[in-house]
């Protein structure tokens, strides 16, 4: 029985899959934060290159991956698909557990799958510098890596708690030649405003996004890059799910259950959209697709499906998505990459339509699952990826109860080699099981007048 299912470089997908082509109804359009009008490509031109704007709005089913991008992706792609036989044995489950291993990329996660094309399209448009935000640092180090390859400058606003918790992520950005600043910072107007309001704030992705957008909008040679949430980011990540589908086909399998963790939603989208597309179009209607979130920030599980800002300062377009409110600063959980108040509009729509479902988990049970995984499969996963591990284990254990031999596929989005202080805190019993007090919130929201 095979442990790793590998593809040749020549078998790497040549096109990204755009799920917008298969949505029964088009996405609700993003709105301009100042006017409330539908956003036009022109509105986005001061922060994004036109090709990415085109991809953002495209409804073509497939979009070609440029050769130069594919060439760089071969540094680690196609990524391996693993059959987690030792984990299966430890769980005594009849289920088959597969995981797509994205930790093989140089920065150690799925993030460069979109960092490379984003840097590429910006350079093609004559942009010299990119500004971005990062939560746990996986995105920041990936964009640093990508901009370095294209001789561009890069400034990363890193959420302050993560900046303190994960010092080696900053070092990695430095190695790749990028500048990394703890957010909120005094460098931007939004950052100064937040610091003035709350000098001790732990920061959040929402705040860091405001800073990076402001930086890009106020420098002519600079554009903004977002590591998740947006349609074009989800698009670039679909290389993961397309490879996985080919790899499973090679062993004559197809997943019954597809699992990924959700912060903004891009790694989840990357693995699941190719399967979600086949579910929507009726080709494979029975696939169960599960998004896993932290109980501290359960956007899809406990949030509202509504128009909201993507950032704290209200500089981004207003998007229809599941949200906990753009002013929500999630508690300082160790899965920093999942501390986002909203979720990708595409993922949100699929959740709203019942194509996917979501679950949420506490920190301690997530780390417990990660430790089980490390002790069977060897890899120490990032706290974000550990959420997917937890849900996969839960499904496998249900299979043990029911005796079903389901095929489970999850996205192992990155390694945890920079997260040992989090593991240390787990073993020391210092991890707090945060949760979102949804009952109180819903009780008060229930009294709000319902508006269109």
């Amino acid at each position: 029985m095979q442990t790793k299912i590998l593809l040749d470089e020549g078998e790497m997908p040549k096109r990204w899959y755009n799920i917008q082509a298969d949505l029964p109804r088009p996405l609700d359009p993003p709105l301009h934060p100042a006017t409330g009008n539908v956003v036009t490509p022109d509105d986005l031109r001061h922060i994004f290159p036109m090709e990415l704007i085109r991809q953002e709005m495209s409804t073509e089913r497939y979009i070609d991956i440029p050769d130069e991008v594919r060439d760089i992706l071969t540094l680690w792609r196609p990524s391996p698909l693993y059959r987690a036989r030792r984990l299966e044995a430890a769980l005594k489950t009849p289920a088959k557990i597969y995981f797509k291993w994205e930790g093989v990329s140089p920065p150690g996660s799925h993030k460069p799958n979109t960092a490379i094309p984003q840097a590429y399209y910006n350079r093609e448009a004559g942009i010299e510098r990119l500004a971005t935000e990062t939560g746990a640092g996986q995105w920041g180090s990936s964009l640093a890596f990508a901009t370095g390859l294209f001789d561009m400058e890069c400034t990363v606003y890193m959420v302050r708690t993560s900046y303190d918790q994960k010092p080696y992520r900053k070092s990695m950005m430095q190695v790749y030649g990028a500048e990394c600043i703890p957010s909120p910072s005094p460098r931007t107007r939004s950052g100064r405003m937040m610091l003035e309001r709350d000098p001790d704030t732990p920061g959040s992705l929402g705040i860091a996004i405001s800073e990076a957008v402001e930086d890009a909008a106020s420098h002519d040679n600079t554009n903004y890059a977002l590591g998740s949430v947006l349609n074009h980011v989800c698009l670039h990540q679909t290389i993961i799910g397309q490879e996985a589908k080919q790899q499973l086909a090679a062993v004559d399998d197809y997943p019954d259950v597809v699992i990924g963790c959700v912060g903004g939603g891009s790694n989840f989208a990357g693995l699941s959209f190719p399967f979600a597309g086949e579910k929507i179009t009726g080709k494979r209607p029975d696939t169960e697709i599960i998004a896993v979130e932290p109980a501290a920030c359960p956007t899809l599980t406990k949030g509202l499906y509504a128009y909201d800002y993507g950032d704290v300062a209200g500089l981004t377009p207003i998007m229809k998505m599941f949200t906990l409110g753009h002013d929500f600063v999630p508690p300082a959980i160790h899965a920093g990459g999942l501390r986002y108040h909203g979720a990708s509009p595409l993922v949100s729509r699929l959740a709203q339509d019942g194509v996917i479902r979501s679950v949420s988990c506490y920190q301690n049970e997530v780390f417990e699952a990660a430790v089980t995984f490390a002790r069977t499969e060897g890899t120490v996963v990032a706290p974000e990826a550990a959420h997917a591990v937890k849900a996969a284990i839960d499904v496998a254990l249900q299979c043990r109860e029911t005796g079903e031999a389901k095929t489970i596929l999850f996205n192992n989005s990155g390694h945890g080699n920079f997260d040992f202080s989090s593991y240390e805190a787990y073993f020391a019993g210092m991890l707090i099981d945060y949760e979102y007090p949804v009952e109180l919130i819903k009780e008060s929201l229930a009294r709000l007048p319902v508006t269109g």
Partner: protein, 373 residues
């Protein structure tokens, strides 16, 4: 240079060793039963690691401070008062006021709950305090876990943060009769050093208590719904909720609020029940009390089992607590007086600890469970 005012209650703890439930008003009896003063020894234990560290000590002469400093080998301290032969709460007050005048950074006291109350009376929240445990009862949250731990907190004072600590008033008469009658006496400011495990020091957990209280209050104010009766328990965290909505309640009592107006202040059980009778819906907001973290049963007995049931059961209770306070209480306790009700709380409870943030905390049993064999 750090300046520390030291006060020792020489008779603290004497009652305990000879089977008295406390020493208040019982010194003669304790001595008759053969009790020996021990507080000075406990204080010296805490002071020994601090000798020669450049700390400026202030203390009353004799057994109320200077003796312990001598025993610990601290030299060159300042004597700030000369108490009489038999020491009293008045002596404690006088010494504490002298500490404040001399610019003390911390009042270090050695005793039990009674001493903590005397110190709080004198310093209130103007100066942080820390207790060296030496009393019979130490339910208040101002004590270090041991004399040596008190020394560790003081040597790390520069990096310590301040948090609120409940000072409790236990009725010794009732206690001797086996009843546990307690009320929240006040809250002191206490230095606290969070765990030093690397990486566990998430910035947020260490953030100042006052800020956390404001965040909790802002959130609760936001989720308060019209026409619901809010039964708001004792403590500074719940008091912050009232001040957030522009009200001032009783810090140490139970206040009733409806439509963001006070309907009863310092309510007793009967008053609460009568208001609940006319209420369409009710919620109880409490903060864990004391060093052990009691949701019910300590410091808020007005919120009786009957009150909880009439409000709709444990599900109608909103527990609030700051991250610093929760970090010091690994589990919470319920001791409402009705064991069946206590069980309805289940294994865990969500405690609101910030703006739209809660922590899931274990609820520990107060009753030892014996398995029938």
């Amino acid at each position: 240079m750090t300046t520390i005012g030291l006060i020792v209650n020489p008779i603290a703890g004497m009652g305990g060793a000879v089977g008295l439930a406390g020493t208040d008003g019982q010194v003669a009896e304790a001595i008759r039963r053969g009790a020996v003063p021990r507080a000075s020894f406990r204080a010296a234990e805490a002071l020994r690691p601090l000798a020669g560290r450049g700390i400026r000590f202030l203390a009353p002469a004799g057994p109320m401070g200077a003796d312990a400093l001598d025993a610990a080998g601290v030299i060159g301290y300042d004597v700030i008062s000369l108490p009489g032969e038999t020491t009293s709460a008045a002596d404690t007050g006088e010494a504490c006021r002298a500490f404040i005048d001399a610019g003390a950074d911390l009042v270090l006291f050695c005793g039990g709950d009674g001493t903590a109350r005397d110190v709080l009376d004198a310093v209130d929240r103007s100066v942080p305090v820390l207790g060296i445990p030496a009393g019979v009862k130490m339910y208040s949250a101002a004590f270090a876990v041991s004399p040596v731990a008190a020394a560790a907190v003081i040597t790390g004072l520069d990096s310590a943060r301040l948090r609120d600590a409940d000072i409790l008033d236990i009725d010794e008469e009732a206690y001797r009769e086996g009843r546990f009658a307690v009320r929240l006496y006040g809250t002191a400011r206490v230095p606290y050093i969070p765990g030093r495990v690397q990486g566990a020091k998430a910035v947020y957990e260490e953030a100042d208590d006052e800020r956390a209280k404001r965040d909790i209050a802002r959130f609760i104010a936001e989720v308060m719904v019209p026409d619901t009766l809010y039964v708001i328990g004792a403590g500074s965290t719940t008091a912050a909720i009232l001040s957030e909505i522009g009200l001032s309640g009783t810090l140490l009592g139970v206040d009733l609020v409806r439509n963001k107006e006070i309907v009863a202040r310092g309510a007793d059980e009967r008053t609460i029940l009568s208001h609940l009778d006319g209420a369409a819906a009710a919620r109880i907001i409490t903060s864990p009390i004391g060093a052990q973290g009691f949701i019910l049963g300590r410091g808020n007995q007005q919120i009786s089992p009957a009150v909880v049931r009439r409000a709709g059961g444990p599900g109608r209770i909103v527990v609030v607590g700051t991250p610093a306070k929760l970090a010091g209480t690994p589990a919470l306790y319920v001791d409402s007086g009705d064991p069946a009700l206590d069980l309805e709380f289940g294994d865990s409870v969500a405690v609101v600890s910030g703006y739209r943030i809660a922590q899931r905390k274990r609820v520990a049993s107060t009753v030892p469970i014996t398995t029938p064999r």
